[in-house]
């Protein structure tokens, strides 16, 4: 019985947790509740994933109002995959968060932070699970507004500026999105995504639909931080509390990519994306530029968190590149990289959180000889860094393999060159850390051996291990991504 309502519970549990945490006004209880909620969420997501594997797409009518009139929750190969990713990262980050937050945020704000965390999680899961275009907007706003607050809680004053910048950019993005949805509603008379896709086929007047496509694509690109709309991202990731950076780096942009995938291939794909419009070409080009330029910027950064943030912009390029290539392998690369990069980057931000806790800084110059002081943390950064580079035996390699394969199949040699260049640049910026941490002498007077506390190390290393594990066992990550890719592309025919 309760199993039938899993799709609703996935969203409702964190949604209810947030006000409960605020009412209790206790940082400790707030953390406990948020953690319990995130673990419940992971269980639900895994159950949903398994059910989709077994029985195919689940359609859940919210409040028993039948779609397309009521709001439909739709769990299919793609959304169940993203649900697992988001709830997995939340479930790993929250146990980590307590100590890290305690060190970085004044204690009277802890309960608010955990309430916002639960809301943000609720929003991200909601975006993923809903099958209704306007409902996506609502959840997008829930996750974004809570996200702005989370970032603003960073201890540095620059966090406020970054949050504000993100607020402006994010609001523009969300507004564009809702304008696009409005236009589509005008033309089709429905907000249900599946219904919209069917009805769009009968629409004669193309121009408003094209305008909708433009608004939605640009709006979502802002949220994705697709180059050159990425300028909010480095500040937001660098100055947010470490646990927040870790969670958001793995999930926020990924979920936005998911929505873009839905719209481009699930809705517009039928008529507009492939023939005529150079949308995929533009996407490919921007991704390629992101992969090279953002990596170059990362190479020059002096702050480890900002370095990782720019690396994220580049890695988002990998994701959108696969999308732009538009064949099964490219799409598989995109979807699997949602997962692989989510795991990798979250692991890195969590480890850096430990470094900040111990050294009080993440300026690269201040980290000389860090490997003697925090050997376990540093080695974790190296391993996760290898996954960023895409060395075989890591999750990142699985993505790169499919991207290169996809580019070769498409006969686009220049993209192969870009991928190679980008991974070499990644090697260069990862190795900046390696040289500083391992090959520079520690400043005199530095603490001898001071590893991050286990409460930070264990969750972080769980994800580091995942970076390696998913480089060998791809039966979940790759098979799930391929199912999703095939489903998306079949939706186009």
């Amino acid at each position: 019985m309760i199993l039938d309502h899993l799709p609703a519970l996935q969203v409702v549990v964190p949604l209810l947790a947030a006000p409960l945490i605020v009412l209790l006004r206790s940082g400790r209880l707030g953390w406990l509740i948020a953690t319990a909620v995130s673990w419940t969420g992971l269980v639900i997501a895994v159950l949903l994933f398994l059910r989709v594997q077994d029985a195919g797409t689940i359609s859940y009518a919210m409040g028993s109002w039948a779609p397309p009139w009521g709001i439909e929750y739709r769990v299919d190969a793609l959304s169940s995959y993203v649900l697992v990713l988001v709830s997995l990262l939340a479930a790993v980050v929250l146990p980590y968060a307590r100590l890290s937050i305690a060190a970085e945020v004044p204690s009277d704000r802890h309960y608010l932070l955990y309430a916002m965390f639960a809301l943000c999680l609720c929003g991200l899961l909601g975006i993923t699970i809903t099958g209704d275009a306007f409902n996506v907007f609502v959840f997008l706003e829930i996750s974004s507004l809570s996200g702005y607050v989370l970032i603003a809680l960073g201890r540095d004053r620059r966090a406020l500026r970054s949050a504000f910048q993100y607020l402006i950019m994010g609001t523009i993005g969300a507004t564009f999105y809702v304008i696009g949805v409005g236009l589509l509603y005008l033309m089709t008379g429905t907000l249900n995504l599946a219904d919209m896709a069917t009805r769009l086929g009968a629409v004669q007047e193309v121009r408003p639909v094209l305008a909708a496509l433009a608004f939605i694509t640009v709006g979502l690109s802002l949220k994705i931080a697709l180059f050159p709309l990425h300028i909010w991202l480095p500040g937001a990731y660098a100055y947010a509390p470490s646990a927040v950076s870790a969670f958001m780096a793995g999930t926020v942009t990924k979920v936005s990519v998911y929505v873009l995938l839905r719209f481009m291939f699930g809705i517009f794909g039928v008529r507009l994306v492939l023939p005529g419009l150079p949308l995929l070409e533009i996407l490919t080009l921007l991704s390629a530029v992101a992969m090279v330029v953002a990596s170059l910027v990362a190479l020059l950064e002096r702050d480890l968190k900002r370095l990782l943030a720019y690396s994220s912009v580049a890695q988002i390029g990998y994701i959108t590149l696969g999308l732009g290539l538009g064949n099964v392998d490219g799409m598989t690369a995109s979807v699997v990289h949602l997962f692989n990069h989510g795991v990798t980057k979250t692991a890195l931000f969590m480890l850096v959180g430990g470094i900040v806790l111990r050294t009080g800084s993440c300026q690269l110059d201040a980290l000389a000889g860090l490997a003697r002081r925090m050997p376990v943390t540093c080695f974790g950064v190296v391993l996760a860094g290898l996954s960023l580079i895409g060395v075989p035996g890591t999750a990142g390699f699985i993505t790169k393999w499919h991207l290169v394969l996809s580019a070769l199949q498409a006969g686009q040699w220049w993209i192969v060159v870009v991928i190679a260049a980008s991974s070499l640049l990644a090697a260069a910026y990862v190795w900046r850390f390696v040289e500083i941490a391992y090959l520079r002498a520690a400043p005199t007077g530095a603490a001898s051996r001071e590893e991050a506390p286990l409460q930070l190390l264990v969750p972080a290393w769980l994800l580091v291990a995942a970076c390696i594990y998913f480089g060998f066992d791809t039966s979940f990550s790759l098979a799930g991504a391929r199912d999703a890719a095939v489903m998306l592309l079949e939706g186009m025919r």
């Binding site: 699985i398 393999w401 290169v404 190795w431 040289e435 391992y438």
Partner: protein
């Protein structure tokens, strides 16, 4: 024990050994004993595998699929057997040598050194046993990464710079060119399994094959074909045992081994013999052979001279493979063996000279044979092998390469081989002459010294004896190499 279990044990023993080394860092003697035990077990495993391969067996292990259709899998064939033998036989000898060297020079971070060393051997065996390009690539990359801490062992500015060059060239070439070559093979042939006769179908164009070959040759940066050779001289900042086992045997041989393996089992010798798109390769390797020899001739630093000599000798193997005749393929396989034994002896000697006399330059070696007779005797045997003079092992492999070139009527290759032999003699013989027949110059820096610590001398004597023994016992590697071309 089945052959499969032996292969797994051979690969896992060094890993366990590294773990043991890391755990026993407080007690150096116990730590070194563990290194020896691991090396011994690995050697026994590899030796026990020989009869099976000799009899035509090709033991195979499929662990699990990484990508659909490409598993982490191992299959032992004659070329891999030869390579594994080289690595497994020389590992215990270098361990003996390393102990003398690391203690004699009072090096720091010895635990890390021995642990990474053992892991590098595990990767080398993984490469030797790999059944497809994905498995090979995996171990190939890990080998690069695991040797990085060895190259940057001294952790100073020089080591940092050398480390950059090392990784830049090796990761750069493999992550860009080699990976693309592998994926392109996968796309064109539908498989990346090493298959006797190759996997490229008849529908693949001449130009595509030429392009693919270029991607492989330059992508496998460990083979050090010019212009991708710069990492090898850079790696010489490492302690000498690293230069000896890794940068004269394991790492560089992993490169040429991969090249030969790809030529035989991916391209297929008969499939590409005579194609116009692959006949550039002998010229590129010929150039590398000559150019590297000239640089070696002009290097006063002994290790640098040896490094450039290695670059030149590696291209012998690639050239032999590129000639695409049965005899030259045999020559390529044998040269992997003979050069390994010869070059490790030379590096051992260079390290002994550094440890005992603190000398690194060729010009400082006048009269040193009087003080270090064993070292210089071993050095002399090593040079004989590298020049290709009987009764040293190098003569044999060179002989087969020459036969192969003659069989294929490749006159350019013959000319290169002849010129290179003269150059080899030109950069090695003066060292020997100076060591034996010149009077020591007393410039005030001289200090009384004898031989290096005994473990180093013992290691040198063993490998030098090996060079001579191989000349008389070449029948056996030859039999394995013959299986490659089914002669």
């Amino acid at each position: 024990m089945t052959a499969q279990n032996l292969m797994l044990l051979a690969m896992s023993t060094p890993v366990l050994g590294a773990l043991g080394v890391a755990l026993t860092q407080r007690s150096p003697n116990l730590r070194e004993t563990l290194s020896f035990i691991a090396a011994g077990i690995a050697l026994v495993c590899v030796l026990l595998l020989v009869p099976e391969v000799y009899a035509g067996g090709r033991p195979e292990i499929v662990l699990f699929e990484i990508l659909p259709g490409a598993a982490l899998a191992f299959r032992l064939e004659p070329l891999g057997m030869l390579f594994a033998l080289v690595a497994a036989v020389l590992w215990p000898v270098s361990t003996l040598y390393s102990i003398g060297y690391m203690r004699g020079n009072d090096e720091s971070h010895q635990t890390r050194f021995f642990a990474c060393f053992a892991l590098a051997i595990a990767c080398t065996l993984g490469i030797a046993f790999s059944a497809n390009l994905l498995t090979l690539f995996l171990f190939y990359e890990v080998l690069t990464l695991i040797t990085y801490p060895l190259v940057t062992h001294h952790q100073d500015e020089e080591a940092r710079k050398a480390g950059r060059v090392y990784l830049g060239f090796l990761l750069g070439s493999s992550l860009s060119l080699m990976l693309i070559a592998i994926i392109a093979t996968w796309m064109m042939a539908g498989t990346i399994e090493f298959t006797p006769g190759g996997v490229l179908g008849a529908d693949i164009s001449n130009a595509a094959i030429g392009g693919l070959l270029a991607l492989f040759i330059f992508g496998i940066g460990k083979a050090a074909v010019m212009p991708f050779h710069r990492w090898l001289p850079a790696a010489m900042v490492a302690p000498t045992p690293v230069s000896a086992l890794l940068h004269a045997v394991a790492v560089v041989k992993a490169g040429v081994f991969s090249v030969v393996k790809v030529v035989i089992y991916i391209f297929g010798v008969e499939r590409i013999a005579g194609l116009s798109s692959v006949d550039w390769l002998p010229f590129v390797t010929g150039f590398t052979i000559i150019a590297a020899s000239v640089v070696a001739l002009r290097s006063d630093n002994l290790k640098r001279r040896l490094a450039y000599s290695t670059i030149s000798q590696l291209s012998y193997v690639v050239l032999a493979a590129a000639l695409l005749t049965p005899l030259s393929i045999i020559g390529a396989a044998l040269h992997i063996v003979s050069h390994a034994v010869g070059k490790i002896t030379l590096f051992f000697a260079a390290g002994a000279i550094y440890t005992a006399a603190h000398k690194t330059k060729v010009s400082e070696l006048d009269g040193i044979a009087k003080r270090m007779p064993w070292t210089m005797a071993a050095f002399t045997v090593g040079t004989l092998s590298l020049i290709g003079i009987p009764p040293a092992a190098g003569f044999y492999s060179k002989w087969y390469i020459v036969l192969g070139a003659a069989e294929g009527e490749h006159w350019m290759a013959l000319a290169v081989l002849a010129a290179s032999t003269l150059l080899n003699a030109a950069y090695f013989l003066p060292i020997i002459y100076a060591a034996y027949f010149r009077e020591p110059v007393d410039d005030g820096h001289e200090h009384a010294h004898g031989e290096a610590p005994w473990p180093m001398v013992a290691a040198m004597v063993i490998t030098a004896t090996g060079v001579l023994a191989l000349f008389f016992g070449m029948e056996f590697p030859l039999a394995l190499a013959r299986q490659l071309v089914s002669l």
